[in-house]
Point group: C3
Chain length 345, copies 3
Amino acid sequence: MLVDIKGKDVLTTQELSVDEIKAILKLAKEMKKDRFDKKFNQLLKDKTFLMFFFNPSLRTRISFEAAATELGGHAQFLEPKTMRLKKTSQGVEVQAGETIEDAAQVLARYAAGMGIRILETSVKHYGDGNALLREYARWMNVPIINMADDKYHPCQGLSDVMGMEEHRGDLKGKTVLMSWAHGALARSYCSVHENLLITSRLGMNVKLAYPKGYDLPEEEIAKVKKNCEMNGTKFEIINDPYAAYNEDVEFVYSRNWFGPDFYEIGKEAEIARARKMTDWICDQERMDRTNNALFIHPMPVDRGKEVTDEVASGPNSIITDIAENRLHTQKAIMAMTMAGLKVKI
Amino acid sequence: MLVDIKGKDVLTTQELSVDEIKAILKLAKEMKKDRFDKKFNQLLKDKTFLMFFFNPSLRTRISFEAAATELGGHAQFLEPKTMRLKKTSQGVEVQAGETIEDAAQVLARYAAGMGIRILETSVKHYGDGNALLREYARWMNVPIINMADDKYHPCQGLSDVMGMEEHRGDLKGKTVLMSWAHGALARSYCSVHENLLITSRLGMNVKLAYPKGYDLPEEEIAKVKKNCEMNGTKFEIINDPYAAYNEDVEFVYSRNWFGPDFYEIGKEAEIARARKMTDWICDQERMDRTNNALFIHPMPVDRGKEVTDEVASGPNSIITDIAENRLHTQKAIMAMTMAGLKVKI
Amino acid sequence: MLVDIKGKDVLTTQELSVDEIKAILKLAKEMKKDRFDKKFNQLLKDKTFLMFFFNPSLRTRISFEAAATELGGHAQFLEPKTMRLKKTSQGVEVQAGETIEDAAQVLARYAAGMGIRILETSVKHYGDGNALLREYARWMNVPIINMADDKYHPCQGLSDVMGMEEHRGDLKGKTVLMSWAHGALARSYCSVHENLLITSRLGMNVKLAYPKGYDLPEEEIAKVKKNCEMNGTKFEIINDPYAAYNEDVEFVYSRNWFGPDFYEIGKEAEIARARKMTDWICDQERMDRTNNALFIHPMPVDRGKEVTDEVASGPNSIITDIAENRLHTQKAIMAMTMAGLKVKI
């Protein structure tokens, strides 16, 4: 079957079909293998990809800009502070100036596609960032790629599972443990959500561990549960920092995230609470109780809090491979949505 | 006749011949039609175009950077805050450090051309921004392109008339209404000046409407009058927000600009005064009294103040087409001045 | 002999062999002659070069970005403020967030090489900037290029001697005068060190003039002395603003630098002291006492303080040529270290 997603927005993997996910992963692996091959380096020739960064980022900016370069195109790095944009029709205030209706229609004339990154620190209410992307998508007839918003991070999720498959083959029936971790970073949900959504989608069992009070948004958990039900796999929630590490587990994802009251209590209160729960860390002792699990993480890693140095730099850590995959999955997405490359699966 | 403007600075259309303007427009239209054709995408191959942004901009930055990309070259986005530059010999203070004499001569060794954007908010006196461009032009033997200064905006003017011609054919003898509008943006003269200069130059009748006290600089009005005289066309000033909308009018340009005392009274006083004159807005009722006029504007549009949503999003609004033309006119200018492409007219 | 420095970091010319220096200079001259030739413009095709600017710069940023473009690649302009990086293992605090170990290993997956610029104003202690580069070099298996740190500036040194050779042929046995100059800029050592190191390395006699109290770091002076000893040339220190200008001198480099107590007394105290010593300036009268010496300087020039306008803009000033050479030496370094181009000397 030939998968064609030309013109499609990529806002979360949950809104792609499983076949579309498989096609992106297949192409990404091929692009990793033949990275500078002629079959890929003309796909965005002379074309412009716009990157809107409402929040800064190391990996995301560099990997998207390199992706455009390797496809023969050019990515423009844009920060809203150097632009004049107005609030959206969906209530997201951005900056005095132009409506998204006006700006977006012009941008679509210049560019082959646009990526947007907007996290919780740039918006007032949970979901406003994602709403901004949808507002741009509404007015632009070129693909919008989510470079991480306050809800989702599809390129990270795709890179996670690509790395997991590279090291352990087919993921069906395998178990991933997603564990909350302490620390002072009050981290966003997007990478966590996306990993839960895509691993459950691809037929994995999901263990979700976190301290009481750190529930993820119900709406997303409902999707993960439904994904598991459809695949006949297990979904478990465990409120204990040790118990989830058992011999079923083949992948451990240990990551801080803020509590559901974050938008009310603010960053400082969240941090004060989270940094005390020092039991919530991934260490070698716990890893030893698993099925030789691989350590995964979207980076940057908060060493000594989310995970010990021993695990993060150890032989079972595949974090650098997953980070590299950002480049390849993003190239695949851009090639398929913007250049119309079709992939046979 | 073959038009050759290799090496020429483009500071305002008033300093180009009418033939040169026609050649740029002809090439821009061809580039719009065959946007990614091989005949254009090697013109700036491996060459660097420098963009100096003393003031931020959405359309200008993206369209110039895309223009360089589509010609096979690369545009560098530079902001003076990240550079060390000294005051010019013409009295414009920029930043402690290097003289323009020194910086400009080095830049000319690296780049095929340079664009500069500097508006009234970056200078102390009217004309200082334009003087800065002329100072760079003096020391650099590669073309300087005005990306909007405190006096002129040639790429916008060219894009305006390109869009007007695309929708209504030859502009000779047709009438454009340039009307002041209220609002809180205290806008620069550059786009307004350039439109008046280029439309009068190409043989249009010009109606200029604004409230008493909002005269444009005499020096520019004198040029517009002379342009009209040379073409035997009409130039009119009307101090009324309604009267100018009549059956002669085929194009309406409604735009806020600050009063002549702006540099003394400052932004806040200007805004306080301008936002009260709510009569000065382009609405459908007024448009209905024209000769089915098209609405034009350099964007960003201040909706609800300069123009109603009904008009701005209506079928006679060609603002997105004009904004798109920025890309094409800029490509044409760069191709002709930097790559030496000659155009037959 | 065929010189191959593929994969090599370039942190200072002192850590290159003389043959490697000669090979870079030979290639740079060829690249200057055939600037846009096909033999060079595919060397970094579709590859990414990362530029980390902890300190802003005009020439460095533009020349490196243009270098990447002219080799067919793309340089990404990155400023640490838009990134999340943590302190290095060598004690350099950068920003809360990620360790260099983690960041660097990921960057090496995306890029063909990386340039870093970090001067004394971004670090607490002399040498911390250089240590940061070495920390990145430790973790990355792609070349690290020093774009100026608090100790060295290899690309500037190479460009200096390239310009000197272009105008005066073989440098062996010729004399360069490096003179301190007054002014209010409290300038870094890096360009001064590098010039002393590379000129002494290539067999020049070195005269170093500065007021008492402005000694350069002993460690670097020891290297310069040893370079001279190995070449059988003269090294002299003169604490007088006039005496060093004599008929031996064929090149004059007049430049401000801060005193050894700068990191303790701070910028203001340094400036207050340095601006008083108005005798320390390069003027035509002094130049007239030399062997028709050429004036060299890494720019930006502090006119009226380091050198008079008469000398800086005079016929013997080769500062613009040297600045242009930054482009060519950097292209040569990138081609050899990143693309593996071998050079026969």
